[in-house]
């Protein structure tokens, strides 16, 4: 049995760890609320952009445009959105697992990292990291997304990369965050979603849409905006998910610490009682020997 002093020391150490996890939980709760607000504010833009883009592509189906088909390069760019800090449970490793577990071949993948944790993990596994935008995720603003989108499109036009993917954590709600891998370019019109709309939207959908400038030029101008808005949307969702994941991780760490403290407290009291009992036995035995 461990000595009373050892147990006491251990209990104090667990207690101070618990204080840290408690504080981190509070901090990430506040940050989560802020990040969730931002994610909700940017949602209409994100959705509207996606809707316009897909409806435009379904109407302009026969257009030949470099952005709409993949070029000869076999390389695939993956924008990996993770966090710069750890202690967020499985948040970062889930994204990494998503990439290693996907059917993208390691030698074809070029990583555009947003977030140090994911970058380090992937580099360690032998992935090629070509760009690092980790500071962006601290405080995502739309301009950063635009810069990254411009770089991606430039590499795409140069033929260095043939397809662009995005790996981020979708913020469904406070407790549920879904690691998602989506294809950004070439843009594919998803026909299922267009069919689902009903009522007033359906009426708007069948009205022929005019474009000014013509479709082809419009696509050239719209795709960069589409890319930046998707990236921005992914960043704000990822920040919300990160804080949600950290809040959960810290919550369970705090309650684990609570359990350990209770357990150690019990052990400590037992040790104390047995020390007292032993002392008493020794005194009585001594007194009897004398008498």
């Amino acid at each position: 049995m461990a000595s009373m002093r050892d147990i006491k020391r251990r209990r104090i150490s667990v207690q101070s760890t618990q204080q840290i996890t408690k504080a981190m939980k509070l901090v990430s709760t506040v940050k989560l609320q802020k990040a969730r607000g931002r994610a909700e504010d940017s949602k209409p833009y994100f959705d509207c952009m996606y809707k316009t883009m897909t409806s435009m592509l379904s109407k302009a189906g026969n257009i030949e445009h470099p952005y709409l088909k993949s070029n000869d390069s076999k390389k695939k760019a993956v924008v990996v959105v993770t966090s710069n800090r750890g202690l967020a449970g499985g948040y970062n490793s889930n994204i990494v697992k998503l990439i290693t577990g996907s059917d993208l071949k390691k030698e074809d993948v070029r990583i555009y990292a947003v977030g140090e944790k994911g970058m380090d993990l992937l580099r360690h596994r032998g992935y090629e990291v070509v760009a690092d935008y980790s500071e962006v995720i601290e405080e995502p603003v739309y301009d950063d997304a635009r810069v990254i989108a411009a770089r991606l499109l430039e590499d795409f036009e140069k033929g260095e990369i043939g397809e662009i993917y995005l790996a981020y954590t979708f913020f469904k709600n406070t407790v549920s965050h879904i690691p998602t891998l989506m294809k950004m370019l070439p843009v594919e019109a998803s026909e299922e979603e267009a069919v689902q709309e009903e009522g007033a939207d359906a009426l708007d959908r069948i009205t022929p849409m005019n474009f000014e400038p013509d479709e082809e030029e419009a696509i050239t101008l719209l795709v960069p905006k589409y890319m930046s808005s998707i990236l921005y949307g992914a960043f704000v969702e990822a920040v919300a998910s990160e804080n949600g994941a950290r809040m959960q991780a810290m919550d369970s760490a705090t309650s684990n610490a609570e359990e350990m403290i209770d357990d150690l407290e019990l052990k400590y009291n037992r040790a104390r009682q047995s020390a007292i009992t032993q002392e008493l036995t020794e005194i009585i035995a001594g007194a009897e020997a004398l008498g």
Binding site: S42, Y45, M209, N210, F211, E212, P213, L221, L222, K225
Partner: protein, 132 residues
């Protein structure tokens, strides 16, 4: 009284404006455009410009810095990359940005990104015009 249509201006950070509108003015890549209700369906790309929203005899101005517009029969959606009310604009900064962009365009040096300087100039001018 002119017929009204619904106007939504959305920027990535927030829903910027939501309400009824009688007449809307802005500048697209193809030139200036005014929209009344029952306009033909049209999607067009915006230049950085002053957007004028006419509603109930009032005229509201806003700086719209890039984006695009989707016009439907009774609804107009503006997806702006950046939108600012006159009160949000830092005039001194806009003037400084205008000067910087002009210098860059005049210098015509190698390696200076003309397209970017021009875009910066357009944005600065749109901001200044919104306040005036």
């Amino acid at each position: 009284m002119a017929e009204k249509f619904k106007l939504n201006i959305i920027s990535p950070e927030r829903s910027f404006y939501e309400g009824d509108c009688e007449f809307l003015e802005f500048v697209s890549t193809e030139g200036e455009l005014g929209v009344y209700a029952k306009h033909i369906p049209l999607t067009t790309i915006l230049e950085p410009c002053v957007m004028k929203i006419h509603s109930d005899g009032e005229e509201k101005k806003a700086a719209i810095l890039g984006g695009f517009v989707e016009i439907l029969k009774d609804k107009v959606t503006v997806l702006a990359e950046n939108a600012e009310w006159p009160g949000d604009i830092d005039v001194a900064r806009a003037h400084a940005a205008k000067k910087r962009a002009e210098d860059r365009l005049l210098a015509k040096k190698e390696g200076v990104d003309m397209v970017r300087a021009e875009a910066a100039l357009k944005r600065a001018i749109a901001r200044i015009n919104t306040v005036d």
